[in-house]
Symmetry: C2
Subunit: 463 residues, 2 copies
């Protein structure tokens, strides 16, 4: 176990890399792999391997691994699959620590030769003790090392408008397409990633291996899985013992056509939806139903404090969004209890009888008074009967001035209890304030329903 | 009936406006109402009314309506409610065509004086034949007239990054907060609006009146409703006869706490969720469960061709997103039939045996070949067994070059059958291409599940 962790540490944290199929030609995947490795900030040397060229992207190219002068930790392959046996032999001889096989043409194709080749390279990699991502994968990203070992340079955007920093959400995906959608969306919605891993055909690295590894990965707080089919639920169940981090699982292929399609796509039987839902319950996974819910749930789990029970205080500057959120919270099994004791007393003293003063609370025009908002939030933070806080407000130019101070109030509360926000404003008005709020521990969502569902998923996870 | 339509036409299409409570002070709502009326492109004169000032925003201010030299079609009120009786008398004398009462303090407050005042002004407005939006409303927007009669200048953004033009989705909301969230989101997601109307306390204009009017409004193709409670379902049912445009309805307040909160907020009993769902079925409304689903559904209904039945062809450049979409389509009652006849033959000739060639279709690497993508899409357009088409692809720098041409293929198909897209790319890469695609009739969504749900809602609407 420890040995495996050490091996995966070396795979994900290489000091140098080499690319079979590196190319100057933008029609080749090897061009994009080189761009990803060179253009995202990775500091180690990146060696192109291409017997037909003396140079690739201004760097000397080598005909094979052996000729490379320095040590090579990571090898990325985008030449045709038939070369893999020879490449694995070279890796073994060179002391390579990890392999990413982007090439396709293995068990995912109809032709039985593909499955044969896959068995061959799996045996070779296993015998060499070489951890291998793929084949038939986009590769992986380790954001904390600025390492992008994929053919998607955009998977690691140092200059993304709202996401300068790597984060703590890891994504392990059985589909490159879904990973692409989730990563694109993560940048748009400020969900910060630690690692993105494309499992591909899962020859010697599968879900249980990655879950074990990520549970011990200091840079990961939450693991997101996109699953099409699992071959060995017993391995998954065994590996779950003693695991400590939340896992959010999205399983596609529950209906007839998609189930059938999944079988062809990944070579495994996707299986009945109910079986997977039962498995996820046993595993303590948070089961979600869409790419959006996957990210929304991971966001709150990676940022917010742990909730103290199922009771939520719902505060809103406008009543409508509070109703919409309350529906989703109650459908998710959370409670919105009427306030009692000193909380009830304080809020009734602070708010005029015009508005909803119990739970949900309609702050109405009172929320322009920040001192008052702060007092209400503080009261709720101190109330042991309240497990978490939702805060909603719609801003426009008439009230945009208060965002910074509201944010400060919420950030203080978020240190003690989960605070989930739905602060909405016209396009482009205040992205920076939201980034500050989220990095301080209070995730923000564009609609009340998404905020409420994420909070319900988190509370249900902690039970 | 015709008379009422004519009156509402004048309310929503004024040639001039006056603002009671107009102000230079950014702490007053009257400042933002003036900014909205002046700053969004409305061409008629806008007269400030404020007895304490000789000028507001550089324009001469008047002490009352009578002193205004020219005719006044629309009056917007943001002075305290007790002034309303006198204001309505002035409106009547001046020949005003419509009234927006932003002021609060009517039936929504605990104090019975509020309800009394509301009855008084309702009677006055009814007797004067004066259509009145509110009280306790944010106002309304008529995007096609560049008229923003609200206190939210951002509700009509001429320079929004992706939405230069007004569109064909009308929103009628019982909550200003929800309207704010929906409008903010509409700009972010390129859902183009025709009118935004805040019902407020619904004194003499309520859902049935607005539905009647919008069904005849040339600039509106789809009506979105946000509903907290309906007092007179019989009026709604009566008014539904002969209505021709799709209505998408979002009802909040289905659970215990939100139901109770809704009662206080709008002064009506929100009522049991099931009763509303039954009512919506009778009315032929598309019932949705979130702000996001409201907009997503309205988008496809306002842009796409009518579907020819429940069968969907699912095309995807990557298999995973096709599975995710298929789940949602089948859960929504749509079918993803295996291809037959000449469609089956053509697609099997065009695609290699490597990939899913039935339905869903995994275009895999074949989609770089646009001629081939075009042939497959054309075949599906001609197949009478296929009612609509979903197309999904994830782009990065390796394949961004094909977006324009894929878009052209989809636009051609969208003229004949509904085409719903999930084209995903890293932040900021291609917003303009997507705007072209959508304005051409093929709505795009950021995730496969949202695209599929919108399509399912549309197909179920047309039955």
């Amino acid at each position: 176990m420890k040995e495996k962790k050490a091996r995966l540490d070396l795979l994900f944290n290489p000091r140098s890399a080499a690319v079979f199929g590196a190319s100057d030609n933008p029609a080749k995947l090897g061009f994009y792999v080189m761009s990803s490795l060179n253009g995202c900030g990775f500091r180690g040397p990146v060696y192109p391997i291409n017997p037909g060229q003396s140079e690739v992207m201004g760097r000397p190219a080598y005909p094979d691994l052996e000729q490379i002068p320095g040590p090579v930790d990571l090898v990325v392959v985008c030449v045709p699959g038939r070369n893999l046996p020879e490449i694995i032999r070279q890796c073994s001889a060179k002391g390579v620590k990890g392999l990413v096989v982007i090439s396709s043409g293995f068990s995912e194709i109809d032709d039985p030769s593909g499955a044969g080749l896959q068995t061959e390279i799996t045996d070779l990699a296993n015998r060499a003790g070489l951890p291998m991502i793929g084949p038939n994968t986009f590769g992986f990203v380790n954001a904390h090392l600025a390492l992008n070992a994929t053919f998607c340079p955009e998977f690691l955007q140092a200059e993304a408008p709202r996401t300068g920093l790597p984060g703590h959400v890891a994504l392990v995906s059985q589909s490159g397409g879904v990973a692409g959608i989730v990563v694109n969306r993560a940048y748009q919605e400020n969900v910060r990633l630690s690692k993105v891993i494309g499992l591909g055909n899962r020859c010697n690295l599968d879900f249980p291996d990655l879950l074990d590894y990520l549970d011990n990965d200091e840079q990961t707080k939450v693991v997101c899985l996109y699953i099409e089919g699992i071959d060995r639920p017993d391995r998954l169940l065994k590996s779950a013992v003693g695991r400590s981090k939340p896992v959010v699982a999205y399983k596609a292929g529950q209906w007839a056509r998609s189930d059938q399609a999944s079988k062809s796509h990944t070579g495994t039987m996707a299986g009945r939806h109910e079986i997977y839902q039962g498995l996820f319950r046993q595993l303590g996974f948070v089961a979600v139903n869409s790419c959006e819910e996957l990210l929304d749930t991971a966001k709150v789990l990676s940022l917010a404090a742990k909730p103290l029970g199922r009771a939520v205080a719902v505060l809103s500057a406008q009543a409508g969004p509070a109703l919409a959120a309350s529906d989703v919270l109650e459908a998710g099994g959370l409670t919105i209890p009427a306030f009692s004791g000193s909380t009830k007393k304080t809020i009734e003293e602070l708010l005029p009888p015009l508005s909803l003063r119990s739970n949900p609370v309609d702050l109405a025009f009172a929320w322009y008074n920040l001192d008052l908002t702060k007092k209400i939030v503080d009261t709720l933070v101190q109330d042991p009967g309240i497990g978490s806080i939702m805060f909603m407000a719609v801003y426009g130019s008439a009230n945009i001035g208060v965002v910074k101070t509201v944010t400060a109030v919420l950030l203080e509360a978020a240190r003690i209890k989960p605070v989930v926000a739905c602060l909405s404003a016209p396009f482009g008005l205040w992205d920076r304030d939201i980034a500050v709020l989220e990095q301080g521990g209070a995730p923000n969502y564009p609609t009340p329903e998404r905020a409420a569902l994420a909070l319900a998923n988190m509370v249900n996870y902690y039970g």
